[in-house]
């Protein structure tokens, strides 16, 4: 699906630009978009280096394991195919708590660490596992208690009660997260992955790597 969306955006943009005489702008946009991509990644370097250092300390000291045991029932229901006491669960929990608190900077490195741990359980390293899809669903829906950025912006524009949006945000984010979990479950079941399938036997022979990926 990503392939089609990507191709569709490019082809449609160029066709539309030709029709409306905006070819110059679109060419320029292509390179400025590429530049933004690099700039964003460079911005991520400091954040990732810092948090991954800190999280290694948390992991080595046993904190991650402790955390994963604390809320184990909920996480195990969401991630049935991750073995008990696996470090991935601890990072998933840290990622979810950081999202709840609106700490975007901290949530991303924790989510990436969780993905790296899930990747160790992946029999086909280029294909996402169901657990990865669930973690991604939780992060795109990103359940939020405190929308910090928006409160700051509202304050900036002289809102009488900037934190007023906490209630509707909480309601909307709970509904969309619920929808994400339900949709994820539905696709997971439909895709026919056995709930605890590590490593998947026999199936490997029939799976070809994606062509030209």
């Amino acid at each position: 699906m990503v392939n089609w969306i990507w191709l569709g955006m490019i082809v449609f943009s160029v066709a539309f630009a030709v029709a409306t005489g905006r070819v110059d702008q679109v060419t320029e946009a292509a390179f400025s978009g590429a530049q933004t991509g690099v700039t964003v990644c460079f911005g991520l370097i400091s954040i990732l280096v810092f948090w991954m250092g800190l999280m290694r300390i948390a992991e080595v000291s046993g904190l991650v394991l402790k955390l994963s045991r604390l809320l184990a029932p909920v996480v195990r229901w969401l991630f049935p195919d991750v073995p008990k006491d696996h470090p991935a669960l601890g990072f998933i929990l840290s990622n979810m708590s950081a999202n709840l608190l609106g700490l975007g900077n901290a949530a991303t490195p924790m989510g990436i660490r969780a993905m790296q741990e899930l990747q160790k359980l992946n029999p086909h390293p280029e294909t996402a596992t169901p657990a990865m899809c669930t973690l991604l669903a939780l992060n795109t829906a990103s359940i939020t208690l405190i929308p910090t950025t928006l409160i700051a912006i509202r304050m900036n524009f002289g809102s009488a009660s900037p934190a007023d949006i906490i209630a509707p945000t909480l309601l909307a984010t709970a509904i969309s997260t619920g929808a994400a979990i339900i949709a994820d479950r539905w696709y997971r079941r439909r895709s026919g992955d056995p709930p605890a399938a590590l490593p998947r036997p026999t199936e490997t022979a029939g799976v070809a790597p994606p062509k030209g990926a």
Partner: protein, 176 residues
Amino acid sequence: MVAALHALSTWAIPMFIVLIPLYAAFRKVPVYETFVDGAKDGFSTAIGIIPHLVGMLTAISMFRASGAMDMLVAAAKPLFARLGVPGDVLPLGLLRPITGAGSLAFATDLIKAHGPDSFIGRIASTIQGSTDTTLYVLTVYFGAIGIRNARYALKVGLFSDAVGFFAAVFACWLLY
């Protein structure tokens, strides 16, 4: 309640930064060496995301500059108006899943134009605050570990964005 949540959000990061090494030192972990050891991976992870993000942002940037986005919004406006969605917030709903910076700029603009405490200003704040940028999250998280086949993850993300958009409008109708 609100003040308490705010305090929690302000104090969480400094608390993380001080309590994690403190606990580790207590457990006799060589904290500085461990930090440096883990931090090394951060650099390569960030660099590994570059090709994914450049590819995605190039396409998004072209799509917006070509005017195709505006046409899509114009086409969808009457339909959404019938569902009780103010036309002004519709572009935000379409931008939200594809660009974080773009939708934040648009939301800020709506808040500025209509006022933060207007109905539209509140809907804009709620939409922007209640979900994350699906394409960005997918690109960064899967890019970091080299996943090429995302399977159904994008569908789930876009579906929850659509639900979140209507939920945000609904929540504002309900609460104001």
